[in-house]
Symmetry: T
Subunit: 153 residues, 12 copies
C-alpha cells in the first residue's frame, strides 16, 4: 500500500450478501432497521469524525474481492460485514491480507450463538478487530474503532 | 413476505452452475436430456396446473442470491437445483431463509451415492422438501410437489 | 434377479418402525394423516397406473430384510420409508443391494432439518432416488417416480 | 432478575486472570496500557453516561462466578473480559445465563488470530455481543454498547 | 467434447481471484513479478511451441465456471491457477470434470507449507497434474506440461 | 396420548437384550442377582405404591418398539433398561418420543466407566431421567422416581 | 482410606457452582425448589436412615478438591452435584479417585438432553453410580443409593 | 458357562442377515456357492473331526442374540458370520461376551477392502480369532480353527 | 506378473519385525511357540501340499519391500505377518499391489482386541484374505488358504 | 521480567491439586513418598546448588496463577507439577508465558501411558522442558535442569 | 550448509521404494516407462544444463535419510520422489529440513486423485515446490525447476 | 529377560535418525553441541556411576529394532532418542515392550511446542519416563534417571 498523505481518511464500507433484505428478514435475528438507516448513521459519524465514506452492498463474492483490490490505493480502511461469506470465502480473506488494508469486521447477530457452521470466521484472522451481536450498533461501534485505528497509525 | 391475493401462483425456477452443460456432461451421471427439454417439461406442467413460471440458469452464486432476494415479492415459490453450490453456499441458504420463500430442492443425480463432500447439503435444512436421483424427473416431481405446497397454504 | 416378462409391474411398499403411530405422533413433524390414508392414496395411484402393490409395515429390521429377500423374484420395485432404520441398518442396505431391486426411498419429514444423527442415510446410496420432506406426498411422488423407473427399464 | 426502577444503571466490570499483568505482559499482543489506565477510561465514560460502575479483577474462576451470582440483584449489566476462562469455564457461562444479566464480552487481542484452542469461546453464546481485537479500546467500545443495551430495555 | 482436427492447439489460461495484485501483494509469498510479466512469459512459450493462448483473470467463481463451459468447444487445454477458489469451489471442479477439458493446475506458493485450510485442493483430483511452489515458474512449467499432454493425445 | 382417568397408574417395565443372562453373565460388571429377583423387588414396590406393573424382556429391537407403541393407551409410564440398544437404537428412541410416554432409563452398570462406544445413549435425551451404576438398585430407584413423576403430573 | 469402625456413617454433600441460584435460575431446566429445601429433604432422610450429613456449596473448584481431600478420614461417602465442573474438572475427578471415597453423582437436569458439551462427564467414570434428570428428586434418590452402598460394604 | 464333560464338542454355526441370498447376490463380492453348499462342507468337516454341528440362518438381530444366550449350556463353540450386524450390533457382541462362548468370526469378503463403514467390527474384539476374505473357504478354515481351540482347552 | 507354467507353486513367507522374539515376548499375547517351530509346521504343510517355501524374517521395512519386489517373478504367493508394519507401511502395501502377488495376511494376536492404533491395517485392503487371533495356528490356516487360492487360479 | 543482579537464584516450586495426598493416593501410580519428603530432597539440592527455594501447594487454579504473577519480580525460575491442571488450565499457561518466567514442568507419573485426556499438556508448550514418569525423581531431575538453565542465562 | 563456489551445480536424485518396479507396475497409474528411461532423460537434461547428477533408488527409509545427510556438503539440490514414504516418513522430512538442501518433490501419479491416505505429504512443507501427475514428465519438469532454483540463488 | 547377576549395569544408548547432523542442523531448535560431545558427557557420567555404556546412532528403523532385540540379554537399560521415529514407529515400540528392557526416552527439543504431528509419541507409553526440551542436558538427566531406575530394581 502506498504511503498516505496527511489528508482526510477514506473508508470503504462493504455490506455482504442478503443485507439488502435488512429490516424485512428475520427481525428476531437482525433487527428492524433497514440498510439505508444504518448507512445514514454511518455517514453521520463519518461527517462528525471528518472521514470520507464509500458504501457498497454486493451479493457477489467476486465483486467484493474486486472492490477491495481496486480500492487498495483509494481507501485507508475497510469496514466489512461479510455476512454469509464470513464462513466460506477464502478469496475475500486473501483480498484483505493481500492489500493489507486496515479492516474491521462487524456482524449484526451473535454468530457464536447460532448454527455450528457460523462459528468459524475466515475473515477474523485477517481483521484487526471484530464487533458482533449488537445489531446495527455493531456497525457504528465498528466504524468508531476503525477511525481510531486509522488515526493512531 | 407480503400477503398474496388469490391469483395465479408464480414460481421461480433456478438452475445452478454447470447445468447449461446438461446432455453433454457426464451422461452416466446426469442423463442425456438438455436443459431446454427439462424447461419444456416444466412449462407444460405449469400450464396444466395454471401456475406462472420464470426460469433462470446462473453460474454466479451472487446472481442466484440476487434473483431470490429481488423476487421476494414476485414469486410464491422457488424450485432450485443448486448444483455445486448445494455444498458450499451459505449465501443462497440465507437468501432462502431470509425471504422465507417456499422452496423445493432438486438434484439430477443421487448426491448421497457420490463423493463424500457431496453428502452435505447446506440448502436442504431451509427447503421444505427435496427430490433427488431421478434425473430430469427430479425436476418435474419437484415442481408438482411445490405447486401442491403452494395450493395448500 | 430373474428376467421379467411384459406383465403388470409389482411393487412392494415397506413402512418402517413407528409408522403405525402416524397421525398421532408428533403431527408437527409427521402430519395428521394416518397410515391407512396414505395406503389408500398409494393404491389409487397403483390402480390408475396399472401396477400391483403389496404393502407391509414392520418394526423389525430382520422382518424388513426378509421381506425384501423373499420378494426378490416377486417384485419389480421397492418403495421404502425406512424410518429409524434409515440411520442404523446396514442389513436393509445389504438386502437392497444384494437383491438389486429398484428402490425409491421416501421420508415424511425433512431429515436434514432435524437432529445431526438423522443426516446420514445408509439407504440413500443404494436407492435410485429419494423424496423427502413433503409429508404423505413424499410417498405418492415416490411411487410415481418408481413406476416411471420400472416402465423405463 | 427483579424489576428495575428508573434509577441510574449499575454495571459490573470483571477482568479475568492475568489481566493484572497488563502493560507488562506480551505488549505485542496486549498493548502497553496498564489495567488502572483502562479502568480510568471506563470510569470517565460511566460518569459521562451517568451509570454506576464497580470493577473487579480476579484470577479465581470461583470468585468470578460468585461475583456474578451475588451481584444479580445489584447490577443491570456485566462487562467481562474472561481472559483464559473464555475457553475453559462452563461455570462462568452458567452464572451469566443463570442470572440472566445483560452481558458484553470483550477481548484485548483478536483471539481468532491466535492459537486454535483460543478460537472457541464458551462465553460468547450467552453474551449479547462481543468486541475483540482493539486492545484497551475493546473495553470502552464494549461499555458504550452495554450502556446502549441497558438504556434500550 | 467434440473431436479436434489436427490444427494448432488452443489453450485457455485462467488466473483466479486476487492474482491482479501480483507483484504488490505479500512478495515474501508470491514473488515480485506482475501478472503481465507472467503472461508475457507464457505467450513466448506459446509462440515457440506453436499453440494459441487466451488469458483471463477473474475474481468471480461464476465467471471462471462460464469461461470453462463456454470454451468447451474452443479450447484443447486449460492452465488454471484457481487461487482462493482452489479450496472452496465445487463449481469450478464440476466445470472441469463436466467439460472433460485437459487441465493443469498451478500455484505460485507451496500451498502445503501454509495454513491448514490451504492443504485441501478441490481442483487437484480433476486436474491431470499440478505444479506448485515455484512462483511464476510454476506457470511456465505447467504450460510446458500441458502442451506435452495435448501433443501426446 | 389420551387423557388418563384418576385410577391406578400402569407402568411397563422393559428389559432389553441379554438381560435374561443376569446373575450368570459377567458378575463383576452386572452383579449376581437374577432377573426374577429384580422383578420381585419391582413388584413389591409396585404393590406398596399401588401401581400396576407389566414386565417384559426382549432381545428384539422391533418387539421393544412394538410393545411401546401398542402400549401407548395402556401405560402411564415406562421403566426401561435398553441394554445394548441404548447405543444403537433410533427406533426405540422414536417410539418413546413418538408416544410421549413418561420414561425412566436405568442401567445396572456405570456405562460411562466402560468402553467408549457405551458412553453415548440414544435413549437419554428422550427419557425424563436416568439412574445408572447401582446394579439391581438402579431399577428400584428408577421405579420410585417414575412413580413420583407420574403422581406429580 | 483408613478402616472404618462400626459407627454411624458420615456423608459429605457437595453442591457445585451456581447451585446457590437454585429456585431462581432457569426454572424450566432446574425446577423451583431452593437449595435449603433440598438440604432439608436430605437431612430428613439422613435422620431416618441414621447417617451423619455435612453439606457444603462452593463455586471454587479448588475448594471442592480440598473438601474432598481433607475429608478423606472423616467421611464414608460423597454425594456430589458437580454442576459446571462435571464437564471441565480433572482435579475433582482426581480427588475422588485419589481418596477412594464412595461417590454418587447427581444432576438436577438431564445433561444428555442439553448442549453437546454437557454430554461428557469427567466425574461419572470415578463415581459408583449416577442419578440425573429428576430435579431435586435426583438428590434424594442419590442419597438413598449412597447409604445403601455404604451399608453394603 | 457350566463345566463340560469329556464328550463330543458341540458347535453352533450362525449365518447373519442376507446370507440366504448367497450364490445369487453380488457374486463378484461373495462368490457363486449357495448357503447349502457351505453348510455341506461344514458338516463334512464336523463329521471328520467328530464334532456336533447345529446351523442357523437369521436376519433378526434379536433371534441371533437369543440363539447364543439359549445355547449357552448346549454349545462349546460358536462359528459366526455376523454379516451386516458385524458393524452395528452391540447386542450380539454382548451375547458373546456375556455367555463367554468360544467364538470364531468369519467373513466371505475382505471387509477391509470395502466401504469405510465396514472397516469396524464390533464382534472382532470378543472373538478369539477372525478369518476373512476367502469366500466360502473362510467358513471351513474358521471351523477348523474353532475345533482346534475347543480341543486345546 | 509373467504367466506361470504348470509347475510346483512357490510361496514366500515373510515374518515382520520383532517376530524373532517369538516365544519369549509377551506370551500372554503371542503364545509360547518359537519362530522355528512355526516354520517347521509351515514346511510340513508345504511338503504335504507339494509347494515350495522360502521363509524370511526381517525388521527392515525396506528389506521386506525388496524381497517382495525381487521375488515378483519367483513366487506365486505371499504369506505375510507384517507385525508392526501392518499399521504404518504404505511401502509394503505398494509392493504387494505393485507386483500383484497373491497375498494372505496373518496375525498371531487379535489386533482388533488391542490398542486403537492396531485396528487399522494398511495391508488388509491389498491382501486376498486375512487370518488373525489364532496364534501360530493363524500361519498354518493362512498357508492352507493361500495354497487353495493358488491352486484355484 | 526485570534484569537480575548477580545474586543467588530464587526458584518457586508449585505443587498442583491433590498432591497433598501423595504417599496415600494410588501408590501404584504415584509412589509411596509423601510431599514433605520430596520437599526435603528439593531443599537439599537447593542448598548444595546455592539457590533459594519457596515451595507452595495449592488446589486452586486461581491461587497458582496469582503466585506466578505476584512472584514475577521475585523468582528467577519456576518448577511446577500442574497435576490435574496440566490438561485444563489456560490460565496457568498464560501466567507462565505472560511473566516469561523460566519454567520446568514435572510429573510423577508417565501421563502419556494413562487415559487419553491426560496426553495433552497445555503447559508443555510454554515450559522450557519437561521431566515425567520417574516418580519423586522427576522433581529432583527437574530442579537440576532448572538450575542449569538459570545458570546458563 | 557450507558456501558453494561458482562451479557446476551438483544434484542428487532419489527414487523411493517400489520405483524399481516402474514400467511393470500398475501402468494405468504409473505409465509404461522404466526407471532407466527416466534416468536417461534426466541425464540428458543435466548434460544440456551443465549440472552434475547422482541418481539412487532405495526402498529403505534409513538409507534415503543417510544419503541426504551424507550428501549435505556434496550436493546443491535434491530431486526426490519419496513414493510411499511421502505419507509416512518424518525422518526424510527432518533430513531435508535439517540439511537445508534445496528440494523439489515429484510424483508420477496425481496423489490427490487417489486414496485418502495419499492426500497428505509430509515432504511438501519442506520442499521448495512440487510437480505431480505428469508421469515421467514430472521428473523432467522437476529437474528443470530445481536447476532454475539453484541458478537463481 | 534372563535374570541379572550383581555385576556392573550395562546400558545401550540409541540415537535415532538425523542425530549425526547435530550441531549443524537447526541450532535454534537443537543446540550447537555435536553428537560426540554428548557421547563424551554420557561416558563421563557412566564412568562416575560405574555403568557400562554402548552407543549407537542409526537412521534405520529396522536396525534400531534389531539392536534392541539382539541386546535383550546384554543390556539392563535403554536410553533412546527416537527422533523422527518417535512419531511413526510401532516397530521400535514393540521391540521395547517385547524385550521388556527398562527404557528412558529423551528429546533435545520440546516436541510439544513444535508441529502438531510431533505431539504424539508412540514410544512414551512403553518408556518408564521421559526427559525433553533441555537440549543435550536431556541426555545426561535421562542417563542419571535410568541408572537410578536400574539400581532401584
Amino acid at each position: 500500500m502506498k504511503p498516505k498523505t496527511k489528508t482526510m481518511k477514506r473508508i470503504l464500507v462493504i455490506h455482504g450478501p442478503n443485507l439488502d433484505l435488512l429490516g424485512e428478514r428475520e427481525p428476531g435475528i437482525y433487527g428492524r432497521l433497514r440498510l439505508e438507516q444504518i448507512n445514514s448513521a454511518l455517514k453521520k459519524i463519518a461527517k462528525a469524525k471528518k472521514v470520507k465514506l464509500d458504501i457498497v452492498q454486493s451479493s457477489y463474492e467476486g465483486q467484493i474481492v474486486e472492490r477491495i483490490i481496486k480500492g487498495r490505493d483509494k481507501y485507508d480502511g475497510l469496514l466489512i460485514n461479510p455476512a454469509a461469506y464470513t464462513h466460506t470465502s477464502v478469496a475475500i480473506r486473501d483480498a484483505i491480507s493481500g492489500t493489507g488494508i486496515i479492516t474491521v469486521e462487524v456482524h449484526l447477530s451473535n454468530i457464536y450463538a447460532r448454527e455450528e457452521f457460523r462459528h468459524k470466521s475466515l475473515i477474523s484472522p485477517v481483521a484487526k478487530g471484530t464487533v458482533l451481536g449488537f445489531g446495527p450498533k455493531s456497525y457504528t461501534l465498528g466504524l468508531l474503532a476503525l477511525i481510531d485505528l486509522l488515526n493512531a497509525r
